[in-house]
C-alpha cells in the first residue's frame, strides 16, 4: 500500500527459543483505527512491542524482519525518539507516583520543555483529549496513583498523548476498567483518529467492530486475514475467521 504509515514485512519474533510471530506481513494505513483481534496467545502484544521496539526490554526476546514507519525501518530511529512517535497504552492503568500534572508533563520535561505556559497548555490539551480534564482540573497536584482505575487509564492515555505521537497503540486498554469509561475512551479514539494512526489490539470483538476502520485477525502468530472491519465481520474469507467471530473458539 503506497500510503502505509506502518509496514511490516516478514516479521518473526521469539521469546527465548520459542517463536511466537511466524513471518507476518501487514500494512497499516495512515490515519484511522486499525483493529487487531485474535484469541489469547496469538502474539498480538508481541506484535505491538515490535512497533516501538519495547520487545527488546523483554529478557531473551528477539525479532527479525522489517518494521517501517513512514518507509523508514524502526531500527534506524533513535530508540527514545521512536517511542515518542509510537506511543503505547498498556492493558493495566499505571498512574506514575507523581501528581496528575507531572504525569502528563513528565515526558515533555525530560526532553527539555520547561516553559510553564507551554506545559500548562499541553497538560490541559492532553487531559482534555483523554476526556479527563473536567474531572481533575481542580486537583492537578493530587497524586496520579490515587485516581480510580478508569481515571488512571485515561491519565495513562493523556500521558501517551503528551509526546504528540503519530501512532497510538493500545493493548487491550479496557480489560481493567468499567464499561462506561471504556465507551468514553472509545469515543476519544474516534475523535483522535483524524490526527494520528491508532492501532487497537482488543479481545472484544464488539469493540473492534464498533470503532475500527480496518481489522486484522491474528491466530497463533500468523495473520489470517485483514480488511475493512465490516467486510471482515460480515463476510470473512477464511473459515477460521468465521469460526472465531462466531465464538466457535478462543
Amino acid at each position: 500500500m503506497s500510503d502505509a504509515h506502518i509496514s511490516v514485512r516478514n516479521l518473526r519474533a521469539s521469546h527465548g527459543p520459542k517463536e511466537v510471530l511466524h513471518g507476518l506481513s501487514l500494512s497499516i494505513p495512515r490515519g484511522g483505527i486499525y483493529g487487531i483481534i485474535g484469541p489469547a496467545g496469538s502474539a498480538k502484544t508481541t506484535f505491538l512491542t515490535c512497533l516501538n521496539r519495547t520487545l527488546q526490554l523483554v529478557p531473551r526476546a528477539s525479532s527479525v524482519g522489517e518494521v517501517s514507519l513512514n518507509g523508514i525501518p524502526v531500527s534506524n530511529f533513535e530508540i527514545n525518539d521512536l517511542r515518542r512517535r509510537v506511543a503505547m497504552v498498556l492493558p493495566l492503568p499505571v498512574g506514575l507516583p507523581m501528581s496528575i500534572y507531572d504525569n502528563v508533563a513528565f515526558a515533555p520535561r525530560m526532553v527539555g520543555m520547561h516553559n510553564k505556559g507551554e506545559l500548562d497548555a499541553l497538560v490541559e490539551r492532553c487531559l482534555t483529549q483523554a476526556a479527563l480534564w473536567d474531572e481533575v482540573k481542580d486537583r492537578l497536584d493530587q497524586l496520579g496513583t490515587k485516581l480510580s482505575g478508569g481515571q488512571q487509564q485515561r491519565l495513562t492515555l493523556a500521558r501517551a498523548l503528551s509526546t504528540e505521537p503519530e501512532v497510538l497503540c493500545l493493548d487491550e486498554f479496557s480489560i481493567a476498567i468499567d464499561p462506561v469509561t471504556t465507551m468514553r475512551i472509545e469515543s476519544v479514539l474516534v475523535e483522535l483518529k483524524s490526527e494520528m494512526t491508532i492501532v487497537l489490539v482488543t479481545n472484544l470483538l464488539a469493540q473492534a467492530r464498533r470503532i475500527a476502520d480496518r481489522t486484522a485477525f491474528f491466530l497463533n502468530g500468523n495473520l489470517v486475514e485483514e480488511g475493512p472491519t465490516e467486510e471482515l465481520f460480515v463476510a470473512p474469507t477464511d473459515p477460521r475467521t468465521h469460526d472465531y467471530i462466531h465464538g466457535k473458539f478462543g
Binding site: 519495547t54 517511542r83 497524586l143
Partner: protein, 314 residues
C-alpha cells in the same frame, strides 16, 4: 480446653450443618473445630514466648546499663577530656572520634554502595556475572569484622600509607558496611513496581531519567533505612578500628582525618579490660553513651522512614 470427642461442646461452638454422622451424638465438624481452636491457642502462646525471649535480653541489657551507668552521666562526663589515665574526667574525645569515624565511613560507603546497588538492580540484568557478584556481596556481608580489620590494616594503614588514622579506620568501617548498603539499596529499588519503569520507557524516557525521576525517589525510604542501620553498626564495632584508627588513650580532639582518635566502642573495651580499680559507673556510663548514640541514629532512621512513608505515593 477439654477436647475429648464426647465431651460437651463449647457453648458458643457453631453448629455444623447436619450430616449423616450427626445422628450419633458426636458432630465431627464440631470436634474438628475444637482441635483447631486448641492449635490456634498453642500457636499464639509459642509465638508470644519466642517474642519475649527475643525482647527480654535486649530490655535487660538496656535496663542494666541505665541503672548502673546513668549516675555517671553528667555534663562534665560528656564534654570534657579524660584525666589521670582515664580514671577520671570525661569521654569527649571518644564521642567526637566515633562521629569522625562514622562520618568518614559514610562518605565512602554511601555513594559507592548506593551507586553499586543501582547498577546491580537497574543495569546488570540477569547474567551469570551478576549472580556471581550478588553472591560475593552477600558473602562479604557475613565476613567477621575482625577480618575487615585485618584487611583495613593491610590495605589502608600499610599499603596506602594512611597510617593509623581516622581515614584508615573510617574506610575500614566503610568497607565493612558496604555489602549491606548495596544489598538493601538493591532490594529497595526492586520493590518499586516494574510497571512504573515500563510506563516510563514507553514514553521514550531514558533509562537513567527513569531511575532518577521514578525509581529512586520511591526507593528512598528503603535505601535510607539500610544506610542508617549500617551507621549504627559502624558506630558500635570495635574490631575494625582496633588496628586502623582508634587510639587507646589520646586526650586531645582530632584535627584532621589523618589524626588518630579515640572511639567509644574502643574506650569501653579499654576501660573494662585495661584500667584496674575504675568505678563501675564510668564503664557502664560509657557503654550507655555508646548505646545512646546508636539509638539516636536508629530513631533518626525511624523518624525519617515514617516521614517518607507518609509521603508514599502509591
Amino acid at each position: 480446653m477439654d477436647t475429648h470427642p464426647e465431651a460437651p461442646l463449647q457453648p458458643n461452638a457453631v453448629p455444623a450443618p447436619s450430616s449423616g454422622s450427626a445422628a450419633d451424638g458426636v458432630n465431627p465438624a464440631d470436634a474438628h473445630l475444637g482441635t483447631r481452636r486448641r492449635t490456634e491457642s498453642v500457636a499464639s502462646l509459642v509465638l508470644l514466648t519466642a517474642t519475649l525471649m527475643a525482647a527480654l535480653p535486649a530490655l535487660g541489657i538496656l535496663g542494666l546499663l541505665i541503672i548502673r551507668g546513668a549516675p555517671a552521666l553528667s555534663f562534665e562526663f560528656l564534654f570534657t577530656m579524660p584525666l589521670q589515665g582515664m580514671t577520671a574526667g570525661g569521654i569527649l574525645p571518644a564521642i567526637v572520634g566515633t562521629l569522625w569515624l562514622v562520618g568518614v565511613s559514610l562518605l565512602f560507603a554511601v555513594p559507592v554502595g548506593v551507586l553499586a546497588g543501582v547498577y546491580l538492580s537497574e543495569y546488570a540484568g540477569e547474567s551469570r556475572l551478576s549472580r556471581i557478584v550478588d553472591l560475593a556481596i552477600v558473602n562479604l556481608a557475613g565476613v567477621p569484622s575482625i577480618v575487615h580489620a585485618l584487611f583495613g590494616l593491610g590495605a589502608f594503614v600499610l599499603f596506602f600509607r594512611f597510617g593509623t588514622s581516622i581515614l584508615a579506620g573510617g574506610l575500614t568501617l566503610g568497607v565493612m558496611t558496604l555489602p549491606v548498603i548495596i544489598t538493601s539499596t538493591k532490594a529497595a529499588l526492586q520493590s518499586v513496581p516494574q510497571s512504573f519503569r515500563l510506563a516510563s520507557w514507553n514514553l521514550g524516557i531514558t533509562r537513567w531519567q527513569t531511575i532518577r525521576h521514578v525509581v529512586l525517589p520511591n526507593a528512598l525510604p528503603g535505601i535510607l533505612t539500610g544506610i542508617i542501620l549500617q551507621v549504627s553498626r559502624a558506630a558500635g564495632e570495635t574490631a575494625p578500628v582496633l588496628f586502623t584508627g582508634a587510639a587507646f588513650y589520646l586526650p586531645v580532639l582530632p584535627d584532621s582525618v589523618f589524626s588518630q582518635s579515640m572511639a567509644l566502642s574502643m574506650h569501653v573495651f579499654a576501660l573494662v579490660t585495661q584500667v584496674p580499680g575504675l568505678p563501675d559507673s564510668m564503664k557502664y556510663g560509657t557503654a550507655l553513651v555508646l548505646v545512646g548514640t546508636v539509638v539516636l541514629f536508629n530513631s533518626f532512621a525511624i523518624a525519617l522512614r515514617f516521614y517518607l512513608r507518609r509521603h508514599r505515593k502509591w
